[in-house]
Subunit: 479 residues, 3 copies
């Protein structure tokens, strides 16, 4: 473990992420310049709509930039800092919450451990562009930087809505539970002083898995929200359709679903009714195999509903949640130990795609954290099925290097038009521009590599970059 | 979806695919220049020998360049064009066949959707070099380009045999059914006016799988062709040996086999005789497990026969055929929805390799559409077993980027001498020179990267490039 | 097969492995210059301690450089040279051992087949730097080079201890059986004329698998060495703890374990006692499932012991040993046909990591020969668990290209501090400096790529390079 004590200047380079070769760099610059200032379309993320609606000043720097960001947490944890020292409430009661300033010091001391990582890359841009810092965090300047950020957060320019404008966000999609009343979205829509678009996204993962302890609760809450009895499976489907309509009325254009695998084999009406009824007895009412069969059927139903109501279906299977049970118990979920599993789409999605893969208007965006499926599965699926879009690299692989590998792997089979455009997938509101900028630079670098190897003309590259930032997410997400 | 309406010049760059760095580019150019004009050896493809034998003018541009090419079809389909609008006969009877000109317009309108893809890359070279086009296809010039190509196709210079010469093809291997009489090959061999080599390749996939509806028919046809009763398994093996001899007499040096997996566990004579007999009752006569066991045994027998008669054994497992049943039903096979499955060689091939992996003269060329096996399986297998050759990237991954990844992954373990040389694997006759040129450029780029990082001398690189284009395919395929 | 007959100069370039772009190359040179002459820390390898302790002259060139090196053997074998012609004793008795000079001729004739491979890359450096050769091996100069090397080996400068000094080795870890008395290590430690560190590493693979024919023998030998009855499982665990203490007393800081998979589910005390007792009857005393369960439990115990005694736990699962049974039978193990299997860590290691993944002081270094797990599993695990370190690419992938891919894949999730530093893993003593130099160059190239794309400052890159070569292996391996 090292302690970062020296202070070095922080000045993100205007040519960062561009290729080293001067000729290629010049092309990348031209391509990037054409999209640098285009509005941000963020069709998939985890910012709370109430944050924008309420427009309150952000809390202290650590509570904004460190504690809620599992990218930052996991790397500090890997380097020996306990979560209790990073501001996560310790359910064991063993540790009191540290002061935000203490948390910031931990980050500053370990800044060296972030060297070369994408987290540091976008964090640098954010610290510089949003908070005006000009030095890398270090043990020496930790307190001073903490004070500077805290002071900035107290200014009107750093309120959420002011940032929405200065970030150049045009569309921001949130992620919302199936029984959510979307009050914050409604307030924003009704507020003439706010002209941005903040759209809900329908996400109901708990509904898929009757072996989850919270399944009954969520199913019941959907019943309440819709006024439709969800005690039967048909009732649940009707209630879900109702809730989706409610989301559409509040601006939603998409759903989002995270499941362990992409299995999509439908069940007979009798069979799913039977498992649903059994699950009403609690998680022990169904066998593990029944729970999986129910989940696979529900994924099929999800597509069926999308075909009916037009909501874009986002799917990101393959994440093993809460790998380390003791950490889950002590610090709760989203603490850095959700881990990638082996990905698979071609086989498990076959029933769903046989039914809906060529249905006009159906959009299915596939995300993965297992890079091996880009060239083997996602590219080829998006390169045949009109419904399938190759989702941008996400989570563990939303990095400059992985974006390059994604483009190299997916473009061969699916070109650019069947991709999703960048998604930031973030809770960290202030990182949004830095992340979109990173993606624009990484794509400019990739396009420049095609131009200098004469696989694409420079004008075509500029045109393609614009499509990636603007037309493609609009078309893919029906914005 | 975009409509491509502007017209831009089409002029493939002489340095295309070479590295951007001027020093590396100069080396790549030197390496490429040494192989650019060497004859084309095409040891694996799907051109019909009758095409060359008959030497008739090609039909209209769309029927030549769009409709039969599943690379082109799948990307247009992915972007919303129905196969019925691309000239594929619709068995549902819902749509009449469109005019070739209409089909060409669809391609031209969607030209933008091909931006950055390898399909567009080699299509550009083909349109320019073979048909003399100087503009990218677009909605504006679609009719004019269609007419130009049609006019060119009517000239003697674009007859198949004239192209064989102007393409510089020295050897062209076709792919032929086990009961084929190879009449076209015989005609070509007997024709003193034709000096090229057009060789048949023995491919009998249907024989491997007794659960296929056409298994009995194919087995019976082999019996007829050989005059040997194939009602027993021993009879089938004898008949296959006979047919292989027939192919060898007509110039064949290789077999080709596509199976779902590379399992190769042999069965006892009793057991395979029993399953063979049961399968005579039809596909329902054998269980799924029996069909798989029979197929694995047959792969073992295939190697055994190659050891006997010297035919090179090509194997490309891991393709899931006809993923979308409704499309298969309506438009037949080879319509863009064969998809890569997870690859595996080391475990499943073990029985075969234990028996024949070090047998002198046995050549086994392994192809994959799952890149993950290049460094994990194919490279290491080819880097130990004298019999094993690492087949070139193929189908979904026969692209400039993937060729680079293949070389980087396979060379570490197997060098260059244990690779296959490029295969075009194509039905699209006119794309052959463009594809071989692409491979020569991609290999030149890879070799240049070794030279400029001082891992290989420039003379060695030139020498290696020549081997890849000439000596290596000759040795690997026994040409 | 080609015969290499022309003679070309051998002169490793000072800028080898650095990027082609002049700007990037300059940075790589600066970074490399800062670490080029740092002492070699080799925490994982297979040199025999007695070699250093005895300090006898090396035998003839082939017996030193060809016959024992399975990297060299496998590629010659793949290109048609039988192992009997490479100096491996043929247990079938069919061939007498060839003269070393004959073996060297085989290598020289096939030198071309190594073009572009990492084996040739480091072999060139070794031949040039250690033996002063200035020509590539060829059929023409084979005898002369053989004589030159033989003459050099007779000089005092090429004795093992003199090389230890001139190679700049600071720490060399060996790999030793659990019952080894470590006499050579003791002799070295007691010898005031030797100031290097040669440390044993505790490796007891046979103990894990009661289905191995040698299990009983090894278990018994541990009993003898420790004076503790290993007839019961508790006895075996106690004896292992005793032997680990013995190793620690002789300088060991780590264990090493190679298993087929990383399963780590613990058994109850009753169950493991029962299987242990059954295994005393011989390999047939336990079922295959019991043997696997026993092995998985033992991996868990291994971690438990590391937590107790502080030995770093190295794990490299996923190698299928002795793929070709006939070669094993005729030539024994380590003859080039150990092959990579599909890798997996996240799922199988879960029990072990739930128990010990956050235990302070526990270090678990994960190695793989399946690159697909770098970004999907090893990076993310090392990026959360304080205990987990991402081991350097190894064996089939200890190559310049794969080191670059490893850095690009792992750094995103784990940065640099949670990696292991380079390990040479070699039996080939004279290749040690060439391999460490290769890794320093490859890392310099990777760091330079971050610098020129402005993801890392040049000073940070130099600092990181020094950490990779020095601080990181010291910290990871507790040296």
């Amino acid at each position: 473990m090292s302690s970062t004590s020296t202070t070095t200047p922080l000045a993100p380079h205007p040519d960062r992420l561009f290729p080293a070769d001067p000729g290629a760099r010049a092309v990348a610059r031209t391509v990037y310049d054409a999209v640098r200032d285009l509005p941000i379309i963020s069709p998939h993320g985890h910012v709370d709509a109430a944050l924008i609606a309420d427009d309150q000043p952000f809390p202290d720097p650590a509570a904004l930039l460190v504690t809620p960001d599992h990218y930052v947490l996991r790397l500090l944890h890997a380097n020996g800092v306990g979560l209790q020292d990073l501001g996560r409430p310790d359910h064991s009661g063993a540790h009191p919450l540290p002061d935000g300033r203490e948390v910031w010091r931990r980050l500053a001391e370990h800044w060296d451990d972030f060297a070369g990582t994408p987290v540091r890359y976008w964090f640098e841009t954010e610290l510089h562009d949003v908070f005006g810092l000009t030095e890398h965090p270090s043990a020496t300047n930790a307190d001073e930087q903490y004070d500077r950020i805290a002071a900035a957060l107290a200014t009107p320019a750093l309120r959420p809505r002011a940032l929405f404008d200065s970030f150049g966000i045009e569309v921001l999609a949130t992620t919302d539970g199936p029984a959510d009343d979307l009050a914050a979205h409604a307030r924003l829509a009704a507020d003439p002083s706010f002209t941005g678009r903040v759209l809900p996204t329908f996400r109901a993962d708990a509904v898929f898995d009757p072996s989850r302890p919270d399944w009954r609760h969520v199913v019941a809450s959907i019943g309440e929200a819709s006024g439709i009895d969800t005690g039967t499976h048909d009732g649940l489907l009707a209630a879900l359709r109702d809730r989706r309509r409610y989301f559409i009325e509040h601006g939603a254009t998409a759903t989002d679903t995270g499941v362990l695998d992409a299995g999509s084999t439908p069940l007979s009406a009798t069979e799913r009714a039977r498992i649903h009824a059994a699950a009403q007895q609690g998680p022990s009412g169904v066998t593990a195999a029944e729970a999986v069969a129910y989940r696979h059927d529900m994924l099929f139903r999800w597509a069926e509903m999308s075909v009916e109501d037009g909501l874009v279906m986002q799917l990101h299977p393959g994440v093993l949640r809460n790998h380390h049970a003791p950490t889950l118990e002590r610090f709760g979920p989203d603490t850095g130990h959700d881990l990638p599993a082996v990905g698979a789409f071609t086989e498990p999605l076959r029933p769903l795609l046989e039914a809906f893969g060529t249905t006009p208007g159906f959009h299915l965006v596939l995300f993965t954290v297992d890079e091996t499926v880009f060239s083997r599965e996602i590219g080829p699926l998006a390169g045949f099925y009109p419904a399938v879009y190759a989702g941008a690299p996400w989570w563990f692989i939303d990095t400059p290097a992985a974006i390059g590998r994604y483009r190299a792997a997916v473009t061969d089979s699916a070109g650019f038009t069947k991709t999703s455009g960048f998604i930031d997938d973030t809770r960290a509101y202030c990182s949004i521009p830095a992340r979109h900028d990173m993606a624009r630079r990484a794509d400019a670098a990739y396009l420049a590599s095609l131009v200098v190897t004469h696989q694409l003309g420079e004008e075509d590259a500029v045109h393609t970059a614009r499509r990636i930032v603007s037309d493609i997410p609009r078309a893919t997400f029906k914005l």
